[in-house]
């Protein structure tokens, strides 16, 4: 149990995907949110910083296409692995991101742990909230892509509305509301819940480097994902995952990029939450 033994957790493919998602996500939020909170001074400032009209809109579309491409390649990869390489374990079981009965146990275990009634559960490869985050990202991307395309091409989109519904269904307005609130939901979720869960917990603060360097220490693996560790030991697969420690530069680079992004995210979500409360009151 040492901090010097590292195991591979994320392949380069996934790290690259995550990195591109970060870039496009920040681009989308920073150019989209000013429109929602248009009456606030910070929104006007941010809109100007992002290039104003129409540059901000072009950045938004560019990032949207990037997000879509990343998701698309991810789905291709998934279907290739499941369909061609017959990796059924991606769909169900310990390696899968689909929730299974063990997650229910973990949730109940966590609730006990919260109230000091038991030890922390030994999670598997994917913890239940990681699964929820993954699945809601996938669902959110689809919702945002569809509603975004309607707003991008409103004239063409309404052609798909059947004639008898045209009087009562206003597709672009619906898309605008969905796009706006799903966007707020995603942005605040990533910038608070995801940030807290992965980066800001006392164990991890300030940046969990696993998704950037791809490696976790043995200590973290045992401590956090005991069930996965046990299974790897049992199946004698642990040594296969052994990796070189991340270089100093990589670790420094993570902090250099990660910390400013964390701060930007937290500040923007604080402003958004304040703005939302004002809207509701």
């Amino acid at each position: 149990m040492s901090d010097n033994t590292f195991y591979m957790r994320f392949s380069l493919f996934h790290r690259l995907g995550h990195f591109l998602t970060i870039i496009s996500f920040f681009g989308l939020v920073l150019t989209g949110m000013p429109l929602v909170f248009k009456d606030a001074a910070w929104a006007r400032w941010l809109y100007e910083v992002m290039g104003g009209y129409p540059t901000a809109g072009i950045i938004h579309r560019f990032c949207a296409v990037l997000t879509f491409l990343v998701a698309f390649v991810h789905f291709l990869w998934l279907s290739y692995n499941i369909g061609v390489k017959n990796k059924g374990n991606y769909l169900w079981g310990a390696d899968s991101l689909i929730p299974n009965p063990k997650d229910l146990e973990d949730v109940l275990g966590d609730i006990k742990w919260f109230f000091g009634l038991g030890p922390r559960p030994r999670y598997g490869k994917w913890i239940y909230w990681e699964k929820i985050e993954y699945l809601s990202l996938m669902w959110g991307t689809i919702v945002m892509a569809v509603s975004g395309l309607i707003l991008w091409y409103p004239v063409q989109a309404v052609k798909f509305v059947p004639g008898f519904l045209a009087q009562i269904i206003d597709l672009p307005s619906l898309a605008l509301i969905v796009h706006r609130y799903e966007g707020i939901l995603a942005a605040v979720f990533i910038f608070t819940i995801h940030f807290i869960h992965t980066h800001l917990l006392p164990d991890k603060v300030p940046v969990d480097e696993a998704m950037f360097t791809g490696r976790v220490t043995e200590h973290d693996l045992i401590h956090e994902r005991g069930t996965q560790y046990d299974m790897l030991v049992k199946e004698n697969k642990l040594h296969e995952l052994k990796a070189t420690p991340p270089s100093c530069m990589a670790s420094f680079g993570c902090k250099l990029i990660g910390i400013p992004l964390l701060i930007i995210g937290l500040v923007v979500s604080a402003l958004m939450i304040a703005g939302l409360l004002v809207l509701l009151i």
Partner: protein, 348 residues
């Protein structure tokens, strides 16, 4: 106070004090007009600008600022007497080689210092009788009067447009050269919005208004007047209105190529943030047994569906964040507790 200062008596006093300078400036004016071969009698712009571009010259005869009561609205306004020639030259009137006296008609015969209580410039009678007549006779003005509003004057909606940077001083928006310039279009939104607060709010709840609220009021983004018209505004249910279903296709089509009947059904003023709309909706739903028509009305109103989605999302947002927020906080708290326990064990 200020007003008192402006009385004629004061001016005479000033004239005595500044008598010498007055003579000098008259002389220089004469010399100037010789230079520029001005025909005697008619005033060139440069003659007026002799005084009106020059704070010292203007100040010598009175004040560079003046308090005045608008005869139409009764508002007290403080205006500057300094005209910025460059700004004037880029304005719609300056560009068209207007003479000062074309508008300040009562100064046609004057030379040098002039009578200080001038008639207000009349935009409507000789030059703009076209929009003026249709505006005054419009249904919109009639409605305003019925509802007890005083209809805005030409100058009220076109602040600064025909005049000069000086006109409004610092207290008012900057000089606005063109009716379709971004500054004027921004003012239009505010003028209409002053009376139509709910429609302004709902306009800003839509893409067009969101962008406009961020300060983009160029011709690419429609303001109230692009859709409803400027001087002769009719209800959208009136087929002659610019927002009548038939005309709408053309208006929206200017920017949205290929706009058709379905597209123009788009709700420009969504009501999802109107409390009154919720109340009527709920009462219609509750009384559907006695009053089935109400339910039908709700079902036919596209705003109802927008509202369902909106309320759904607000519910989702609150539920999600209260649950996950609590989860994060508890995890955080527990991890710290566990860590402390671990440390205690290390010490033992």
């Amino acid at each position: 106070m200020i007003l008192k200062n402006l009385s004629k008596g004061d001016f005479r006093e000033l004239k005595v004090v500044n008598g010498k300078r007055f003579l000098i400036s008259l002389l220089s004016l004469l010399v100037f007009s010789l230079f520029f071969h001005v025909s005697v009698g008619a005033q060139e712009n440069s003659d007026c600008l002799q005084c009106h571009e020059n704070a010292e010259m203007c100040g010598d005869f009175g004040e560079t600022k003046k308090a005045r009561i608008d005869p139409e609205t009764g508002d007290l306004e403080i205006v500057s007497m300094i005209v910025d020639q460059e700004a004037f030259a880029t304005s719609i009137h300056g560009k068209d080689d207007f003479y000062c006296i074309d508008c300040h008609g009562d100064l046609e015969e004057s030379e040098g210092m002039h009578n200080l209580n001038l008639k207000r410039v009349d935009c409507a009678t000789f030059c703009h009788d076209d929009p003026a007549a249709s505006y005054r006779d419009s249904n919109h003005v009639k409605l305003m009067k019925e509802k007890g509003f005083s209809p805005p004057t030409c100058k009220g909606c076109h602040i600064g447009l025909a005049f000069h940077q000086s006109t409004w001083g610092k207290e008012r928006p900057m000089f606005v050269p063109y009716a379709d310039g971004p500054e004027h279009r921004k003012m239009t939104i505010n003028t209409c919005g002053n009376c139509h607060k709910e429609h302004l709010a709902s306009y800003k709840n839509n893409f067009h208004g969101q962008v406009a609220a961020l300060g983009v009021t160029t011709k690419e983004i429609p303001t109230c007047a692009d859709c409803h018209g400027s001087h002769d505004i009719l209800n959208s249910s009136n087929p002659d209105s610019q927002m009548g279903i038939k005309n709408r296709i053309e208006v929206c089509g200017k920017c949205h190529i290929g706009a058709d009947e379905k597209f123009v059904m788009h709700i420009e003023h969504p009501r999802i943030k109107e409390i009154g709309f919720y109340k009527s909706l709920v009462s219609n739903l509750l009384s559907f047994k006695n009053f089935p028509e109400g339910l039908k009305k709700v079902g036919k109103d596209p705003n109802s569906y927008l509202m369902i989605v909106f309320v759904g999302y607000i519910g989702l947002l609150t539920m999600l964040f209260s649950k996950f927020g609590l989860h994060s906080l508890l995890t955080w708290f527990r991890e710290i507790m566990d860590e402390r326990k671990g440390k205690d064990k290390d010490h033992e």
